[in-house]
Amino acid sequence: MPVWLKAIVQSRAVWPVLALVLILIVAGSVSPNFFEIRIVEGRLFGNLIDILYRAVPTALVALGMAVVIGTRGIDLSVGSIIAIVGAVIVWRIKMGDPHITILFSALAAGILCGMWNGFLVSALRIQPIIATLILMVAGRGIGMLINQLYGGTDPSFESALLQWMSTGSIWLIPTRLILAAGIFLALWLLIRRTALGLFIESVGGNAAASNLAGVKAGLIIFVAYVLSGLLSAWAGVIMTADTHTSDPVSVALYIELDAILAVVIGGGSLAGGRIYLGMTVIGALVIQALTTATLISGLPPEYNLIIKALVVLSVLFLQSANARKAIGSLVSRRAS
């Protein structure tokens, strides 16, 4: 096997990207004009744009999840944070706040949720899965209570600013893509161009050892959950403005699972100590490409989840070192 081929096969990036390409090829063969991109209503329009566009909330949540998982934690409350953010937005709109203030209130709500999670995990030392489960369970109820503050019978709204951020466009490109790219860059700089990334990975790898080395593990973990809360809040702003309504019971249901999945497809380990931001985005794209492909395939909806499970299983199978070794030895036996 040539060296470059070996390098590609052994790279952790190759399998998720390959899966993404394969899903797109299959979708293209099922639906003839799948790759077509046109300009409609002043923005790019097509299945490929849809995949990028719809992957944004999951990708944002997954980026936060990647940071938290890097500390050997997990954040199950992301969907509930989105529900709370949505309720806060509609409540403040009905109260007549300026919409720029509402945007900051929404992000502040997410940060507050992240601080709560971070406090439980780093100060009280509650296991992350339990600590964030509390807000996961309570959050949607809190959202419903916030909706009660204005009566809650008709939670739909119009907001030029928030809708521009979610469904608007700048020079043909959907605004949410541009904003998400900016957030990704900012996060990447924060994680990779400051010591924070290194600290998070060291805390995730071995909290006790990094504490001895002078890294304040508690503070690092706290910051990770706050980041996750902030990114979830941004996803919440996009999702709420997208549908012009707050629906705390069912908005972003199971998004925590998709986010964890995106991190894992991207090569992250739940054992912590590693953050792969770019690959996490690829993971989110794989999930969304799969969803979009299933929607346009014309298959009955009963198959949606089974198809998803099978594709995820195969990606993870190919990523497993043991499975790859087995395939590798099979191939080399053939060659010799």
Partner: protein, 304 residues
């Protein structure tokens, strides 16, 4: 003297009150919880219309838990109410408590959802809307509006849920009567605005901007509202280019109907006290065998 008369008057009034209280029927109502928009409106209507019928209603909110509901029903039995109305949280696990009510000779009425019991004589009847009928009504409206020629895209509710299954069946039963009507695309939007929007976006691409599509049938209004947004963002005119029919009649769809972006919505009534209480009161006065399901008629609202 005056004081004496006043006292006597008060005593008389009090005894009159007690008589009416003794005559008023006492009914226990165990509600599922307070989720969504529809159920709180349903609870409020049951409490308000109880007053109109002079019923002493004992209201218990089970907060979505069956054990809470069983406890409430047993409390009603212990209080010796005249009748019990249950909106069941789940369909199973009712045999024992219903038998206890039957032994105490307290009639039980079901509203909203069904229960699964072997002995159907354990409850008097179920009084509720019919999801199947809602689907039929939507189908009938569409058949008339499109004059029997229509390619439909369908936004299904949560896969496997009772309203999704029955609304689909009812709708199909009607459009199957018309050879030129068919469902060309169907997907689940999970009863949410978000889901409806995503699915409609995919439909718009897979059908080349809904070319040849004459209608969108959604199993609830929320999904239809999402579909309306997706169509507007793609430069289409919902309500004009494509007929929009859905179920629930929530406040937001009323606005859409007024704006001409939706065409018809089948109402899932929350003001059902006036359908439920007469049946219960008649039965208390004169217990006769009733049908096991009394259907509350559905209503359909259009733009004009």
């Amino acid at each position: 003297m005056k004081a004496k008369y006043a006292l006597a008057g008060a005593a008389l009034a009090a005894s009159a009150l007690m008589t009416t209280a003794a005559w008023a029927e006492t009914i226990g109502f165990s509600q599922v919880g307070s989720e969504g928009d529809w159920r709180p409106a349903f609870s409020a209507n049951m409490q308000e219309s109880a007053k109109e019928y002079g019923i002493d209603l004992k209201f218990a909110n089970a907060q979505g838990k069956q054990e809470e509901q069983l406890r409430a029903v047993r409390a009603f039995i212990a209080q010796g109410v005249d009748a019990i109305i249950i909106a069941p949280v789940v369909v199973t696990g009712w045999d024992q408590v219903l038998r206890e009510a039957k032994d105490a000779e307290i009639p039980v009425f079901l509203v909203d959802r069904d229960v699964d019991v072997e002995d159907k004589s354990l409850y008097v009847t179920r009084i509720s809307a019919d999801f199947n009928l809602e689907g039929k009504l939507a189908g009938a409206w569409l058949a008339a509006a499109s004059k029997g020629t229509c390619k439909v895209v369908e936004l299904q509710g949560t896969t496997g849920s009772a309203p999704a299954i029955e609304r689909k069946k009812g709708f199909e039963a009607v459009i199957d009567q018309f050879p030129a009507m068919e469902i060309v695309q169907t997907q689940s939007g999970d009863f949410t605005t978000e889901g409806g929007k995503k699915v409609m976006e995919a439909f718009i691409k897979s059908t080349n901007n809904l070319e040849g599509i004459c209608a969108s049938f959604a199993h609830n209004d929320n999904m239809q509202l999402g579909a309306i947004q997706a169509m507007k963002e793609a430069g289409l005119k919902p309500g004009e280019d494509v007929l929009m029919v859905s179920v629930d009649y929530v406040p937001a769809i009323k606005d859409a109907l007024a704006a001409g972006e939706a065409n018809a919505s089948v109402e899932l009534r929350s003001a059902v006290g006036k359908f439920i209480y007469p049946v219960v009161l008649d039965y208390i006065k004169n217990p006769t065998e009733l049908d096991k399901w009394i259907v509350i008629p559905s209503d359909l609202h259009t733009a004009n």
